[in-house]
Symmetry: C2
Amino acid sequence: MSTVSPTGSPSAGYAARVPQRRKRPTIKDIAEETGLSSAAVSYALRGLQVPPETQRRVREAADRLGYEADPIARALASGRTGTIGVLCSSLEDLWQQGFASTLGRRFLAGTRNALIVDAAADPEREVSLSKYLLDQRVDALVTIPVDPASPHWADAARRTVLVAVGDPLPGAATAAEVVFDNGLAVADALKTLRGEGHTEVLVLTPGPKLRRHRPAEKIVRELARELDVTLRVRTCPNALAGAAEVARSALAEQPRPTAAFCLADSIAYGVYDAARDLGIGIPEDLSVMGFDDHPVSRLLTPSLSTYRWDVDIVAEAVVERVGKALDTNRRSKRTLVTPQPRHRDSVSAARN
Amino acid sequence: MSTVSPTGSPSAGYAARVPQRRKRPTIKDIAEETGLSSAAVSYALRGLQVPPETQRRVREAADRLGYEADPIARALASGRTGTIGVLCSSLEDLWQQGFASTLGRRFLAGTRNALIVDAAADPEREVSLSKYLLDQRVDALVTIPVDPASPHWADAARRTVLVAVGDPLPGAATAAEVVFDNGLAVADALKTLRGEGHTEVLVLTPGPKLRRHRPAEKIVRELARELDVTLRVRTCPNALAGAAEVARSALAEQPRPTAAFCLADSIAYGVYDAARDLGIGIPEDLSVMGFDDHPVSRLLTPSLSTYRWDVDIVAEAVVERVGKALDTNRRSKRTLVTPQPRHRDSVSAARN
DNA sequence: GCGGTTCAGTGAACCGCTTCAGTGAAGCGG
DNA sequence: CCGCTTCACTGAAGCGGTTCACTGAACCGC
């Protein structure tokens, strides 16, 4: 998780303090030690075109001197950094927090690492951050897009290995896409609510510009028509406090919706909060459904009905796709992740 | 948040794919455009010892060519990266997730960025990750230490600007320390519980090696003796699922504790989970207190009594300290952050 | 008109590693 | 023994900036 600004005035940050250039051994020192050229050492350290015996000698000398390769010099010379950029639409979203941390933890078991940044639901920020990551020469860029339709993705795809998570990026030649089958979850949710007799449904969706569930919105509307459900769609921040505020005003309207369908668990938490303030009982007066299944959702009273996108499954798919794209230079097809319904206690039959 | 392995075999990650060396303009191109030397351009772009008029000319040319400085080359040449390393003891901890994301978001408003990594409560991992960050030439290293006593911090302090969050690092010449006054919170918690008549208290503390609250443990024991409270201290993972497991076994013992004091909200969530499984009512049968005040804690039933360490306050203090250390090369004294008690509904009088 | 500053700008070394073209020696088949 | 390939390794040119020592011109007071 990380980084604030993309570029900023390049002058700042270059102040007084001279870095402690503690003389760390370089490849040249090893060359001297072993009587080889620095080129040979470079090859040997990477196990390239050098006989095993020499490799051993070099590695031994390296260990003896406490040599550790300088990733910066290496990146400059080779054009590769071993770093994967992860650009999240909003790290306020608890699902994304978990995803980012899981991804970072397991990223390609050892050799690469992840640089995780937060677009904070802002499309402009998203563009500048992705530029920032490209400047940092990330070998691949994993994104949960704020705005999948942005033209700049095409650019990014040209400059690096681009992997989309959540929504596909229609305009870009992505190396892989791990897409959520939002439609399935949304359909299930609406049918569930309708089955319980709810016809006035409040839909809270992250935004305004956060599009993580954009395709879901279309589906929601169509399905609502089919099922004869009246929808009140509100966009709101994907975080407890902001969502609560929106929910408070939405729940004060007449006729009051009898169910709320939230396209993120964090938002559902906000609804719980608002309901408590307003003296609205869940699920008697208001049924609530979420989206994500954050670990805490089970614990609420009543426990939250929601749809789980298994973080581990998604992370594994991403890691595998990135690996394949980087190693074989082949793009893979789209992976569809299906939601796992978690029907719990926050939904009950509509009164009337 | 990020990165998996510190070094790993350097050979891997260097595979087939040749990086798209799209010819981006360099400083040399600007030099040609303007008829200046590349040195002059370098100075001008950074606003150094060059008259305003020339600066303008250079910047104009840079814009025209779409020039963007290469941070890697810059880092290699200058020894400074503009990146701050943030090493969290455990990003499973919800407080740390929030802290990391806040820190990343506001880090030094523009010019620097944060590289956030997760030690996953493992002291060895912590050492190797901090080496990794130093290799990446971070300008400063902010750490929530797993093991404040580790000798390697002294080393890190020598190599970069080191800022400790949570616990002080006794052995290291840190540039700043933002320390939590755990003692205050712990004392308040124990007194509160004792005041309600609890004498059998289960203490769940993150670990086993996670020392974020180590000083608190000592205080807890002393105070317990004073107050004549029997303590049962258990270390457990700082995450809902792991904590629940420990809690389940601890709550099955006889005599059953009448109160649980958890040194992280995530752990308290685990206790809620376990209590529900075991049919133990909160707060009638078991009082629970947490530590952190995660946004969700208010929402649980009953709402969790806990101690808030305001993420924004801590993040702001850290940002300010880092800035000062980097710009003026002066270390600042220790900042003590005091907890804000949030007494809510998860504590009640002990029966009997 | 002269020594001394300041100013604007230059040339080249350098950061530490990668990589390409090439070299001398050994090994090989005939 | 010759020509050819293979092997083990080297020299040097980058990668794209930063920085240091220095220069020539303008300017200063006297």
